[in-house]
């Protein structure tokens, strides 16, 4: 068997064996350890001045009938060498990346950084959530001053001077005007009056804010506290609308298992007046220590706006009716987060502030 004709080359040069090119390429590639060396080898093996390239150029010097066969073998050799280079390149690049990444390793749990984000106060967040529930029910949010005159805090709310019902709130008076004429508001109800004075009905609004009472603090009462009050004034508003609104709010805020009930009570500015209770959130109404085994927890007060209040702000009580309700924001937060003692709010201990 005759050896296959040698591949072409420069006239007069030694014939080149394509298989030999491949095996010498294999030997060469095995010695290479860096991508840079591989680049060099690639030029040597398949570049313009490589033996392989010269062999291709030498094809023209072959007999025409030999050319196809030799050309095919050269192409085959080139394909194999290029494939070997590609494999080797992937191998080397992978190794180098791995080494680089290894050097770059970081334990993310060793990061030293202060807490990047502060927390909003639990009472303020509760206020936001309560506002949002009522906003969803089509209410606006109204606000007013914390220092009020007798008119707004008492008189316009159907409590003339020395009215015994004023005793329901222990008032902190300010050293302004005559004695006991300016005070820190004892409830958010003055905002109702301001709202009705400033804008006519219809009104659908809630009024959150800080209130003050001259009370000695205990686990459930603090002298500075937050209340949210609601006021609806429109044609044809009835006690049924009040009860329905309270129930809608209750299930929306506390969840579908929590319901509301109203019981007769007394407030000078509403008539009929009611006390507003919700299913005990601890025992879900089964009875526990928190609710004194009644299954209900008192949340606030409500009622139909007293015609005397409408008279004080110049709204015709025959044409318009309305209801109002109010309850403690802090109390909601206390119930929802099971805060045993409200006095914890005074300290602003950062261990508490960052907790909830």
């Amino acid at each position: 068997m005759t050896p296959p004709p040698a591949a072409g080359g420069e006239p007069g040069s030694h014939p080149i064996d394509p298989e030999e090119l491949v095996s010498s390429a294999v030997d060469r590639l095995e010695t290479i350890t860096t991508v840079a060396a591989l680049d060099e080898a690639q030029t040597d093996l398949v570049g313009k001045r490589s033996e392989l390239a010269r062999a291709h150029q030498g094809l023209v010097s072959l007999e025409p009938d030999e050319r196809p066969e030799v050309g095919r073998r050269l192409n085959e050799a080139r394909r194999r060498i290029e494939s070997l280079i590609g494999d080797r390149r992937r191998e080397l690049e992978g190794g180098e990346r791995a080494a680089r990444l290894q050097a770059d390793r970081l334990d993310l749990t060793e990061v030293i950084a202060p807490p990047l984000r502060g927390r909003l106060h639990i009472v303020e967040r509760t206020r936001d959530e309560l506002e949002d529930v009522f906003i969803g029910m089509g209410f606006a949010v109204a606000e007013g001053p914390e220092a009020e005159t007798d008119w707004y805090n008492f008189e316009a709310l159907h409590m003339p001077p020395a009215h015994p019902a004023r005793g329901m709130w222990d008032t902190l008076y300010l050293d302004l005007g005559g004695p006991e004429t300016v005070m820190l508001r004892t409830h958010t109800s003055p905002v109702q009056i301001r709202l009705m004075e400033a804008q006519g009905p219809p009104i659908y609004a809630v009024m959150p804010g800080k209130c003050y009472r001259r009370d000695t603090p205990d686990a459930r009462h603090i002298p500075t506290f937050h209340q949210i009050e609601g006021l609806v004034v429109d044609r044809g508003i009835s006690f049924a609308d009040l009860a329905g609104t309270i129930e809608t709010f209750t299930t929306a805020y506390f969840g579908p298992d929590i319901h509301s009930r109203l019981r007769p009570s007394y407030f000078p500015f509403t008539e009929p007046s009611a006390e507003y209770e919700v299913t005990c959130t601890i025992c879900k109404g089964n009875g526990c220590r928190t609710c004194s085994h009644t299954g209900w927890i008192e949340l606030g007060g409500c009622g139909m706006v007293d015609p005397a209040v409408f008279a004080a702000v110049g709204i015709d009580a025959e044409e318009w009716t309305g209801f109002a309700f109010g309850f403690g924001i802090d109390r909601c937060a206390q119930m929802r987060h099971e805060i045993p003692d409200m006095r914890v709010f005074f300290d602003n201990d950062v261990r508490v502030l960052r907790q909830i």
Binding site: G118, L176, E180
Partner: protein, 843 residues
Amino acid sequence: MRVPLSWLRDFAPFPGDPAELATTLDDLGLVVEEIVPVGEGLGDVVLARVVEIGSIPGADRIRRVVVEAGGEPVEVVCGAWNFHEGDIVPFAPVGSVLPGGFEISRLKKKGVVSNGMLCSGRELGLSEDHEGILVMHSAPDPGGAERGPVPDGMVPGTPLVDALGIGPDTVFDIAVEANRPDAWCVAGIARDLAASLHLPFSLPEPAQPPTDPDAPVASLATVEVLDEDLCPRFTARVLLDVMVAPSPDWIARRLTLAGMRPINNVVDASNYAMLDLGQPTHPYDLDLVAVHGLRVRSARPGEIVTTLDGVDRAMGERSVGIGDDRRDCVICDADDVPIGIGGVMGGVTSEISASTTRVLLEAAYFTPMAIARTSKRLNLRSEASARFERGCDPEGIDRAVLRLCELLGATAGDRYRSAQGVIDVSGTVPTPTRVRVRPARINTVLGSDLTDDQVIGYLEPLGFVCERESTSVLDVTVPTFRPDTAREIDVIEEVARHHGYANLPRRRPFSPQVGRLTRYQRERRLVREVVAGAGAHEAWTPSLLGPDAHRRVGMENGIRVTNPLTPEESVLRQSLLPGMLGVLVFNADRRQGEMRLFEVGHVFPLPGPERVSRALARSGETVIAEREVLGVALAREGDDARSAAALCQVLIEAFRIEDVELVAGGSDDVPGSGSAPPGMHPTRSARLVLAGRDRHARRSVGVVGEVDPDVLVDFGLDGERRRVGWLEMEIDVLLTQAPRHSPLLAPVSKFPSSDVDLAFVVDESVTAAALRKTIRHAAGTLLESLALFDVYRGVGLPAGTRSLAYRLRLCAMDRTLTDEEVAETRALCIAAVEKAHGAQLRS
């Protein structure tokens, strides 16, 4: 009010389940705060006769007592000393369980076996008395050989409950609302409860007392009412030959259950009649009332009355609110010497005593508001004042007096009788009110569908008389014991209460508006989010500070509270700084040093007197121009004025606010800001100034920088070492009044930009902000952005100067800038800065 169930049954046949009755009372708005079972657990307690009392060797507080309780004598050890041999006492044998679950067991004390217990009133749940054993019957000759006969029903071995004629009872502790004077007595509660349960209610008619026709009352006493405004009706009766003695057991027991202490038959009968029917009365010892006469008048300012409790009280001393004319009603003797405060409390001088024989009995109607004012003025509340200030029934006076006389009859002796007639000085008193009620209006207000008959069915059992005025109007006559019901709406409430709130329908109103926050309210939430995003926790510091708090941070004191609970909460804050520093101190004391805190809250600047006058004249203005401010304390490691300024910048950019400048202290650029902001570091702080149209409209809306190191030292916050950044801004003004960048979208250039870096050496007195303004102006419209990227002080620069390096990025909308254009802008900027600020380009 504490109401025994047995007492309620005087008026209607109430069934026995106390829990169900309590629920009904709750649903009527007569909220039962506690259900107290009494007289239970007494089944095992029997009467015993004390046979022998002996000492125990080595014990000086307890004694050995032998009692006989219907069987063999038994030995007990007892620590009480108030009884004698022969006395009849309650005895709980071993194994019995007393009220409250206390089980009696056999004990051995100092070697003596105790086979049971002799009981006090409190141990039996019968009274509050725990001074000694409840002695049921005292032997006539204590300790003597003579043993008198034992009265009927006091035979040893008799069960205690039989001897006392008591069965188990229940006391409801009911919170009566301020508008329900009628329910401040047992009869009133019974009336409401009976109506709700459809039970017949009846008010027993008291018997007439024996009367002495030879002793007309007018010959024994006189009454003069000088101020009918304060006291529209005053009645007096004289009771003769009254024997002052203890009340019968059943009266004493009822008073005890209702929470009142039995005193003597006269005082007890007065108290009983009040609890029974709601009308306070006042008995005087007639012989201790000078000239046997009473004068009712308004007190002279400063006049002193010594009340029953032994306290000297000055009348008319202070006003208790708008419209108060400081008139207090006093009852004087005929010599015009005050001997009691009308409707509030009697005096010591004419008190009923053991030697009293003639009683002058006052029963009056006082003007509720006058009593309310007097009670508040004197800070003196009594059972009487609580009832009078809510409104007693002027028509109920006679019944209550007769009831008192009837009760007294049982113990006041054989010769007890009433003088002939009653002194009755009547002016204008409330009469039954007629109210026009439209049934249709009831249903409008309640959202209900009640028929006229239902409405009448609810009202008539309450004592309201309903007549049909027309097909659409009921004419309702409201009795005088219901002063709370004077208007149609009041009647509607009665209908709702008796229909039951739970039985009214529920529906949801449709709000015609879209519910949403105002822009300010939305942005205020965003302020809190942004600041929390900078690592600050939201705190809640007190609005009321101590008297010293403002001075400690160099501020003028705030508005004072006239009646603070404690001095530490007596002044309204003018800034959030003092409170927040207090929080830092609190936490530092607990080894919590590193933190950022913030708060959004009101501060209360001092108002001018004109503003207060206007507000009180109902201008609609607020009394104080309260500001809503954000305060941020930056007290983490490394925090300083820079951190505060950076956060300030973040907020200004977050809300795209324009025309806000930081003005350092000492600048006369802002009216009234000659020095550094109070409490702030004099050279590391600035005012936040909202630029106005002209110089006078410029307004400070906050401060930014560091807390004065001396203040930190004063608060014990390590002023030497530590810096605390502080930012306080009036967000209400800033967010509603500061101009904002245009909300319109500006297109960005498609052409490449060129950067120019310029460093200037400038005097320390020139602010970076001023330089920035000059560059911005000089570079004109080609300036895409401008950033301060380096500040250098030190080697190579003259003292009192620093180098500020800015990077200008230039770009045009319609072309690539040529080198020439860039160079020209650069030159313009350099020239402008050099000219305006005496700065030098740093080469």
